[in-house]
């Protein structure tokens, strides 16, 4: 497969005047909605899904590419100017970004975020274009058993690794899987969890579920706890950077990109860990460590780049394997299926032109982001002052409109309200939203692979580990599941062992080393947790 020529074809598709226009609209809409407080990129994409229904798939996905990066960038603008990150991946940006803004350097903070995002996005998208076909080549050789294992791994990793409570993560996953069961069973045609209602036979529309959980749940939750005192918004002029700012920014951009992409591409990577790693690294390497905590530009440049590179990385498993690993990718995957496009490794073969047009428009969207957002930053800052009643009424209004326009039936709005209430409850009691959404989307596909696997092995469960890769993945799954247990064992044994063996033969040395390695990695875990709670405490 010739990556370069495919990509050029993609550019040719994406640069037709109409499609270019859609890219511009996507970036502007994505940024505008992403800047609005309370609206993260996932919700932005979910709310704007219906707008793309009338378009043909290629144009729709070109618009998505713009919305994707636009929403990401919008989120970081909010966290710099308001110090209240809308989502966990921009928590780190807010730490130094808001300090910079308070010190009168909002323009530089926004500029380094925008240019850093551009650099990271461009490198990340290049890596995506190079890596995805390689992953596909590897993936087409995989059979159902390996797929089943990979999907289980992705679900478990997201559930067990991210978030503060594994138990609540699994509860959320269970609810998502149950919602995914609703409808007609694809193999036997049996109705499951439809309670005799014909309207449920086709299952719950994933757009309705996503809009309900993200938008309606969020609007209700914010309404219950609406901040009555107006927040301080820092006025901002035209973003620009001095020579010194450039000098201090370019290395963090590149290092942040290096952290972000691989983590984004992993099943449970997400953007939280790389943004935090980037922050810590910049703090350690900086020539001005004393500025950290008072608005160091490196502390914005690095994490922002990491965030955007992770966003590009996330698209690698999404396009190559059909595996979404964050909420935004999950919603985009839902959009794929609503166009009748089957996600998975065959995507590059069956929908090649579409995929390459999407990748090309990621480059274009990224570039547009830079030239549109640098001059428009003051306008976006004004959006932050939108009166809150209008903002949240508007979210409900457009959520309703979006969910209704999918099938034009009022019944969907009932589901929207019920699941919105569920989303409210989840926010109230700290159940993470992501496992639920992934459960809804991956659940049915997981079941399909399971049944295919056991059909091939004629019902013998050994079929589940009949491929070498599947075995390897099951081992990783087991480690993730047993990790807290292992950790406990290591902790319990370590002090005992060291007191027992103060000076014995070298045979115990390797054990000691492995013990300390796991201890160190645990410490890193713990401190990243601290970082999060720090950010939360600020907000």
């Amino acid at each position: 497969m010739d990556v370069f020529s495919s990509l050029m074809d993609g550019f040719a598709t994406a640069l037709t005047p109409m499609n270019f226009l859609y890219a511009v609209i996507g970036v502007v809409l994505g940024t505008a909605v992403g800047v609005l407080p309370g609206l993260g990129p996932a919700m932005t994409v979910a709310l704007l899904l219906p707008v793309t229904y009338a378009l043909e798939p290629t144009s729709a996905f070109i618009m998505f590419a713009g919305i994707y990066y636009g929403g990401m960038y919008g989120g970081s603008t909010t966290s710099i100017l308001l110090n209240t990150p809308g989502e966990s991946s921009s928590v780190v940006t807010a730490i130094e970004g808001n300090k910079m803004a308070k010190a009168g350097r909002a323009a530089q903070a926004l500029a380094t975020a925008a240019i850093g995002s551009f650099v990271a996005g461009t490198i990340g998208t290049t890596l995506l274009a190079v890596c995805a076909p390689i992953v596909v080549q590897f993936a087409v050789s995989l059979g159902s058993p390996s797929y089943f294992a990979i999907m289980v791994l992705a679900l478990l990793a997201v559930t067990a690794v991210l978030g503060s409570s594994r138990l609540r993560g699994f509860a959320s996953l269970g609810l998502g899987l149950a919602i995914g069961l609703v409808g007609m069973d694809s193999v036997t045609g049996q109705q499951r969890l439809t309670f005799g209602m014909p309207l449920l036979a086709d299952g719950l529309d994933i757009v309705v579920v996503a809009v309900a959980i993200f938008a309606v749940g969020e609007a209700l939750w914010v309404a219950a706890h609406l901040r009555r005192t107006p927040m301080n918004i820092i006025p901002v002029g035209q973003p620009w950077m001095g020579k010194d700012d450039w000098k201090r920014s370019w290395k963090p951009w590149l290092r942040g990109t290096a952290f972000g992409f691989p983590f984004g591409a992993l099943p449970a990577g997400g953007a939280e860990i790389p943004t935090f790693l980037s922050y810590v690294t910049e703090k350690r390497l900086s020539k001005h460590p004393e500025e950290f905590g008072h608005g160091a530009i490196e502390g914005v440049a690095g994490p922002e780049a990491a965030n955007n590179a992770a966003a590009a990385g996330t698209l690698t498993p999404m396009l190559a394997l059909g595996l979404p690993t964050n909420a935004t990718a999950a919603v985009m995957l839902a959009a794929f299926t609503s166009y009748g496009i089957q996600p998975g490794p065959q995507l590059f073969a069956s929908e090649g032109p579409l995929v390459w047009a999407l990748i090309a428009s990621l480059f274009i969207g990224n570039f547009l982001l830079l030239i549109i957002n640098l001059p428009l930053a003051p306008v976006w800052a004004k959006l932050l002052q939108l009166p809150r009643p209008y903002l949240y009424a508007g979210i409900l209004f457009f959520a309703t409109l979006g969910a209704y326009s999918v099938n034009l039936q009022a019944f969907d709005l009932v589901i929207l309200l019920v699941l919105g209430a569920l989303g409210f409850m989840m926010r109230r009691f700290g159940l993470p939203v992501l496992p639920l959404i992934l459960g809804v989307i991956l659940g049915p596909r997981l079941e399909g692979q399971l049944r295919k696997t056991l059909q091939l092995s004629a019902g013998n469960p050994a079929g589940l580990w009949s491929e070498a890769i599947a075995v390897g993945i099951w081992v990783i799954v087991a480690i993730i599941l047993l990790w807290p247990l292992l950790l406990k064992l290591i902790r319990r044994n370590r002090p005992a062992r060291s007191s027992l063996l103060p000076a014995t033969s070298g045979a115990t040395e390797p054990r000691e080393v492995s013990g300390s390695v796991s201890h160190a990695s645990h410490r890193a875990d713990g401190s990243s947790g601290d970082g999060h709670s720090d950010g939360d405490g600020d907000g």
């Binding site: 209240t84 939750w221 209004f397 059909q455």
Partner: protein
């Protein structure tokens, strides 16, 4: 009767047990629904439509039990923060309930009265619930939003939202 006050005091402030109850109920529901499916064994589909629901039901019930234990031992889910969220004050039902009311009004009205009317009610009601008190200005904005989206969806996206009572006028 010393046990009842302790039970009451144990339950106090543990509204999270409701979540465990919901999970458990969902688990039982999924189980019963799958149990009721009649499926002859077929060689081409040894897993059948029941297996996965049983696993999901099991997961939900186990989570329900563990969560209940966790909450009774003093565990607590962290409420989600956010840009406009102030967790210092308790949930403000006087805002949420009218908001839900506006939402339900829209569901009841949309097919009969049409989107322009129901959307106006939804937006205006939501703004009012959230504390907007410029009745006329809010009303005009609501009406403008509904009409604009009605025509925007019809002309731009080719989606005909219901015109309802205003059929023929719009």
């Amino acid at each position: 009767m010393s046990s009842s006050p302790t039970v009451a005091s144990r339950l106090k402030g543990r509204s999270e047990l409701g979540v465990a109850l919901l999970l458990g109920a969902a688990g039982v529901l999924v189980f019963l629904d799958a149990y009721g499916l009649a499926t002859p064994y077929s060689k081409s589909d040894p897993v059948g439509p029941k297996t996965v629901p049983f696993i999901v039901a099991g997961l939900l019930v186990v989570c329900a039990v563990l969560l209940a234990v966790n909450v009774l031992r003093g565990g607590k889910g962290e409420a989600e923060g956010g840009e406009d969220v102030d967790l210092a004050h308790p949930a403000d039902w006087k805002t949420v309930l009218p908001l839900v009311g506006a939402f339900i009004a829209n569901i009841l009205l949309i097919d009969w009265a049409g989107w322009v009317i129901s959307g106006t009610v939804l937006f205006w009601g939501s703004v009012w619930a959230l504390g907007g008190r410029h009745y006329v200005r809010d009303g005009l904005i609501s009406l403008a939003m509904s009409i604009l989206t009605f025509y925007g969806f019809f002309l731009g996206l080719g989606i005909a939202l219901p015109a309802g009572l205003l059929e023929g006028i719009l």
